[in-house]
């Protein structure tokens, strides 16, 4: 059976969670050439409320388009971290925005202050989602840095390319600095096959 890698990006409405999902799906699907299905769930509010985007990655046609058990969970606020970390596989990876997630329920997590980096280094809090995408390019073998960059530049408004490229780089730098968690074997094998 085809492999399946389930990703959930979560936070609150207004943080750009769904845009993150679209960009990640485009990077993996179009630029890295795998099968992807991206879905979303959000409330009727323009800001606030919960928001999540899911990306399912496979090497074949995807049947169920929503995440089943998570290989990767990105939590951009405390509530989403609390709500979803139980859906992680035993060897799934948790990535949190440590600016907003103060209480991390498990030790095996990458804590990176995406919002803090966006606010202090880039002076624009709204690019926290792009900083997080930059970090994902380093933390997960599912997507390459080049694919993420092309996908980001293809989706952001004209005139903001420089800011977004810097945000990506800041995310990558921060991710490289965090202590590496050993990657589950099954996934590393699978990636080796492809490359």
């Amino acid at each position: 059976m085809a492999f399946r890698y389930d990703i959930r990006l979560s936070g609150s409405g207004g943080q750009g969670i769904i845009l993150m999902g679209i960009i990640l799906a485009e990077a993996i699907g179009i630029h890295d050439g795998r099968f992807v299905a991206q879905t979303q769930s959000y409330g009727p509010e323009a800001r606030g409320g919960s928001s999540k985007a899911e990306v399912v990655v496979s090497d074949g046609e995807i049947d169920y388009p929503k995440a089943l058990q998570l290989d990767l969970l990105v939590a951009m606020n405390q509530k989403s971290c609390d709500d979803y970390y139980m859906d992680l596989k035993p060897d799934g990876i948790l990535v949190v925005d440590s600016t907003l997630v103060r209480q991390v329920p498990m030790s095996r997590a990458y804590r990176i202050p995406f919002t803090g980096i966006a606010r202090e280094e880039l002076k624009r809090e709204m690019v926290a989602n792009i900083v997080a995408l930059g970090a994902l390019a380093v933390l997960t073998p599912m997507v390459s840095a080049r694919a993420i960059e092309s996908a980001v530049l293809g989706r952001v408004p004209k005139g903001t390319e420089k800011l977004n490229r810097e945000a990506l780089k800041a995310g990558m730098r921060a991710a490289r600095k965090t202590k590496k968690i050993r990657f589950p074997e099954a996934i590393s094998e699978l990636v080796d096959e492809d490359t």
């Binding site: 485009e26 769930s41 049947d63």
Partner: protein, 380 residues
């Protein structure tokens, strides 16, 4: 001619509907934005002017379908898109399009109801409304995609059927499929089959606008071309003028039904997934069919002979295919995100050959493969 390299694109279900409609030749859209169908209007407002088409944002959904009917009568392939609350408003004009036999496509991206309900959550609760929402005895064609690619393909089919049979076609999608993004390759125009309405070839004075034919579908003249005829919501004679003569009313209503019922083979499309030898069969449609497909694959791995019949055509109900499944399988499960709108139909055509069970979910979330698996274990 040199072939363009195929370009993969990551598209939303709604965006694929847009691409499908343009490929089918749609050049008019009138609508009113509503979640989860808004992206269709949003994209068409950009795309239609680029192909000399017309986009109008109307004051409401009643007027939207009214404008669509008017444009179609003038000879332009037309579409509107909405969700539950707007679809309710469209029912009046939907009936008009049926009785006046005006081809058009209505997209309903289903969200939770009744009323404004759950704007951003999926549902499949408009299955019966799409069949019987407008009053009076009438046939209807309703298609239901489950993938982004099917959104593209079935939109084209919807236009083709509406042109071929002079009937409004409803594309029933749900929030999951409408907002889901998948990778698709848009086929070249020359690889797409397009059907256009038959227009009159006789001189205008010989034209009988609602003439009965063996196919049941009269030729349709574009308004303004010199073929003058009367269009009304009243039951009409072959010339289009109101009549209440029983000997004219009866054949008219029967012809409306006949043009659909004698073409079931053309209209009823489904997907058979391991269903031919299945002991446990799932009958599903829309986003839930994807959960069912997963459950079937998981069952097969465990040695359980499961299968799925996916209904791409919801109405006219695929009785022949469903009956075949009911004969083959010992147990049939119908999972749907409503209280049992299609399962009731399945039970209606069941002659006691199989046991029919349901899974009903009305909380605004999709039925998961695990739920289907659990139900299979429970009943089989």
């Amino acid at each position: 001619m040199k072939k363009k390299p195929l370009k993969e694109r990551l598209l939303q279900g709604n965006e694929a509907v847009v691409e499908g409609s343009l490929s089918a030749g749609c050049r008019f859209f009138a609508g009113y934005p509503i979640t989860p169908a808004t992206e269709i209007a949003e994209q068409l407002s950009v795309r239609l002017p680029q192909v000399d088409g017309t986009f109008i944002q109307m004051e409401d959904e009643i007027a939207s379908l009214g404008a669509v009917i008017g444009a179609s009568l003038a000879g332009v392939k037309s579409m509107t898109a909405t969700s539950g609350p707007g679809f309710s408003l469209m029912q009046e004009n939907l009936g008009f399009a049926i009785i006046a036999e005006v081809p058009c496509v209505v997209v309903n991206a289903m969200r939770g109801g009744p009323s404004t309900g759950l704007p951003t959550s999926p549902s499949q609760s408009d299955v019966m409304q799409s069949r019987w929402g407008t009053h009076g005895d009438h046939p209807i064609i309703v298609l239901c995609p489950s993938t982004v690619r099917e959104c593209f393909d079935l939109t084209i089919r919807a236009f083709n059927y509406s042109e071929k049979y002079r009937i409004p076609v409803i594309l029933l999608i749900d929030e999951v499929v409408a907002h889901m993004r998948e990778k698709i390759i848009i086929p070249d125009d020359e690889d797409i089959e397009i059907v256009n309405r038959v227009r009159p070839t006789m001189p205008p004075e010989w034209y009988i606008p609602y003439e009965d034919t063996p196919r049941g579908v009269p030729a349709m003249a574009d308004f303004g071309e010199g073929y003058r005829y009367h269009v009304t919501g009243l039951t009409h004679d072959v010339r289009g003028f109101p009549t209440s003569r029983p000997d004219e009313v009866d054949p008219f209503i029967r012809r409306l039904f006949r043009k659909v019922s004698q073409n079931f083979a053309d209209l009823q499309i489904g997907e058979h997934f391991h269903v031919d030898d299945a002991d446990v069969a799932i009958i599903a449609y829309g986003c839930v069919a994807r959960s069912a497909k997963r459950a079937v694959s998981d069952c097969r791995e465990k040695g359980i002979k499961a299968g799925m019949l996916k209904l791409n055509t919801i109405w006219p109900f695929m009785r022949t295919d469903v009956e075949k499944v009911l004969r083959q399988a010992k147990v049939v499960i119908v999972p749907e995100m409503n209280m049992g709108q299609i399962s009731r139909e399945v039970k209606r055509v069941n002659k006691g050959e199989a046991k029919v069970f349901t899974i009903n979910r009305v909380d605004g979330t999709i039925i998961t493969p695990q739920e289907i698996m659990a139900r299979i274990k429970e009943v089989y």
